[in-house]
Amino acid sequence: MSDRPIRKRLRVPALLRGRGATRHVAMYALSLLVILGVWWGASALIKEWKGGREYLPNPVRAIGEMARLAPLWFPNFLVSAWRLVLAILIAFVLGYPLGLVIGRERRLDEIVSPMIYIVYPIPQVAFILLLFLIFGIGNPVKVAIVATALFFQILISARGAAKNIESTHVTSVLSAGGSRFQIYWHVILPATLPAILTSLRVSIGLGMAFLYIAETYGTFDPRRGGLGAFIRANSYSAVQAFAGILAMALLGLILYVAIDLLERLLCRWKYTSRRSS
């Protein structure tokens, strides 16, 4: 007997097979279709359950409304986008090198790690009031709230990744006469980059949540207050608020794709596989 029946059962459409950008785009399209399907089903169920009230608009209506309200949400989208990107950059620039050094330098780790263990478990939301008092209600506080939340996330990921580096790689550079700086440059930085990019992906979700909180409080201009302010200003209409939620999802998706592309560019070695020798 051949294994043909098994192969038949496992067959996937040609577009999703193989490698490359086409497959990547096809997978995203498939995911989107699944989300739209689930969304549609949930919308119909909630409408039925709530006696015809549309708390969760169906995808067609929500996307239609999103297109109609584009002139209103798009300026807010740009405001949220630069706040989030700036906060990620600040958290990355401060947290990544510090995490690497703490992870590699034992004495520093012994001093700093207890401080992290004390501060990190405190919900970062608790610092929001303090940050508002320090930075006021303008842009700096929004960026500071998100950057503070992401800083610890990136710091702890970097520290963990730096601790788990294979000693052979360090020995390899040391035995060839490498200095401490060269060990960081040639081993620790590239070895930890994939883990940090994964941490950044996780940070996007966390960052969006904190950005929403930051933009919901202390914002008085619904036109340029960011997506959080837009959603709050339109909370009287589920359909219009949903346009803001979809814009947040779009922002998240753009950042995820950007980090994916960055990883493919910076960690090309991760995307190779053994060829015939």
Binding site: T168, H169, T171, S175, A176, G178, C267, W269, S273, R274
Partner: protein, 245 residues
């Protein structure tokens, strides 16, 4: 060339210190080869790393040429287990890492070395795209890039299949006879030690001490494996290691 005298290496400090190498002495002349043969975990890698300048001895001394060892030196090359390649660097970057770390640029010789080792077409590949045998050859290319006078090998063929292992052993022998560097090979493979070591120092269980040194003067020919002299050396090494059939 390499002078190791009453060497003691310990891990940790004070009462919790663990002795890994205990009073080891030997001499390897210019262009000679010595195999350090011992059971796994006996301290032979620690001994080799101390010669490479990676560990500071607790006692005794190591001299290469007339200079005591205080850290890694240009004339010393170390080939690690699994070749120690950096996965994020291409074959070319890995092979020339030692030069780049010293602020030097790869020369035509570096390209020739890759060509001699059959890696010319693999220059832009990453280690994950290579077979195990190719990875070991890249490790060799890196070691040769600085034209070392001392070659240290830390179980360089561990975990290779028998055929690849024999091919790379032949390659090592060819390189040693051609370049005539002083070679110190750490291994737990009896036949590998007998094939590559002009002298074979048999080490005890941890902490490493030299139990006996077996002379193996006929080494240096690819056909040596098929001779009675080779089988006799292997037998003597088995007896020294107390391997019972």
């Amino acid at each position: 060339m390499i002078e190791v005298d009453s060497l003691v290496v310990e891990y940790g400090r004070g009462a919790e210190a663990t002795r890994a190498v205990d009073g080891v002495s030997f001499h390897v002349g210019k262009g000679e080869s010595l195999a350090l043969l011992g059971p796994s975990g006996c301290g032979k890698t620690t001994l080799l790393f101390a010669i490479a300048g990676l560990y500071r001895p607790r006692g005794g001394s190591i001299r290469i040429g007339d200079e005591p060892i205080r850290g890694p030196r240009r004339e010393i090359a170390l080939i690690l287990q699994d070749a120690g390649l950096l996965p994020w660097k291409t074959v070319w970057q890995n092979a020339n890492l030692s030069l780049r770390l010293r602020g030097e640029y790869p020369t035509k010789t570096a390209a020739d070395v890759l060509g001699d080792l059959g890696l010319a077409d693999a220059k832009s590949r990453y280690p994950s795209e290579l077979s195990e045998g190719m990875k070991r050859r890249v490790g060799v290319a890196r070691a040769l890039s600085t034209s070392p006078s001392v070659m240290l090998m830390d179980e360089p063929l561990a975990s290779l299949d028998a055929l690849t292992k024999e091919r790379i052993q032949n390659l090592f022998l060819n390189l040693w006879t051609r370049h005539r560097f002083s070679l110190v090979l750490v291994t737990h493979d009896i036949e590998e030690a007998a094939f590559l070591g002009e002298r074979i120092a048999v080490l005890t269980e941890c902490p490493a001490r030299i139990k006996t040194i077996v002379e193996n003067p006929e080494v240096g020919d690819l056909g040596y494996r098929d001779t009675p002299a080779f089988r006799e050396v292997v037998q003597r090494l088995r007896e020294a290691l107390e391997v019972r059939s």
